[in-house]
Amino acid sequence: MPQDKPSRRTPKPDAFEPFADDASVRTIGALSFENGTDRIALHGSLDLTRDKAGLAQARLVRDTLEAIVKVLEADDLPEAVAEAPDAAPKSVPNPFA
């Protein structure tokens, strides 16, 4: 059965499903989890303050990581996914020169 390209799958609004698509992003403070079908990129920074907001954020970070670990544990994982890009960028003449 022909499978739809993973990145074509539209992510559900307001739902970060680890490794389900190449589009969704969860933002917690200035920390973001960029979803991908073969990697999730974490970038930015976050202050976990010793207050109620800090607790809510800490829980969300934990829940997000837990969901990621769960998917990874359930998967039949390869040793490593490809590090190199699918194809090296092409060199083309500068259209503006």
Binding site: P11, S24, R26, T27, A41, D86, V92, F96
Partner: protein, 296 residues
Amino acid sequence: MLVRCRRGRFVAALAFVTLASSAAAQEACPTLFAKGLAPVLTNAKLAARTVPLCFEAFAVLHSGVTRTPLYSAEHLTRASIADARTVARDDSFHEETRLPDAERASLEDYVRSGFDRGHLAPAGDMPTLSAQAESFSLANIVPQNRVLNRGLWADIEEGTRRLATRRGSIFVVTGVIFSGDSMQQIKGGVLVPTQLFKALYDPASGEAGAYLARNDDARNWRAVSIDALTQEAGIDVFPGLPAAARASAMTLPDPQAGARSEGHRPRPEQSWQDWLSRELNRAVRKILRDLLRSIF
């Protein structure tokens, strides 16, 4: 394969482009621009297949040639930054459906391309949840070096927000430069910019200047004047500014002075001559301002 299919729809796309650009002619959001004036393309070649798009909290000029924005414009205020200190939320990168298929980037163009999807108008600047969601439109995204996007550039963005909080109001134009004889192109015909810039204008002091960084992992940046930026980018980002404000670069916040100070990052070189000319410039501007004020 996808690209080939799109080419088949070239005629339909052309018709749509005509429609889109006439619709775009009406698309204006002057409050996002310094003195209400959108940037002017001084390199006429950049103007090919461009479409201006307004969003809730930023405007872009999109190029169908590069399938990226050429610039984004924002007006940051103390209040908008306070609102932007966000609660947690989920968003998603998405294609810009206001642009014709044959002119825009698609999600798969960036997947495993080796580049980050770099925002021009950063998500962290957005004052509302809907504005933040819009910032993930691929019409606001360029292929950006990973190290630059997550390091120096993130710090420049944060420094800009802090400056807007201190000064109260800042106009920002973030853009890309394609320089050299040949360019890198990822899937779907998306061109990789060679440099990124972030130009700031403080309407209260009348000062302006821009950060300029190569799209690589060197972590180097330069401060340039608006005149110098116009030369390098082929884009006059603040056409309404008087000559004096364009000729010298304001003192830009040091992105390394941010909260994240780990790692070594080289400082921009600055000699005492630079300092002297900047101080002289500032004194002359102040005298002029005071003079004008006493006349009127």
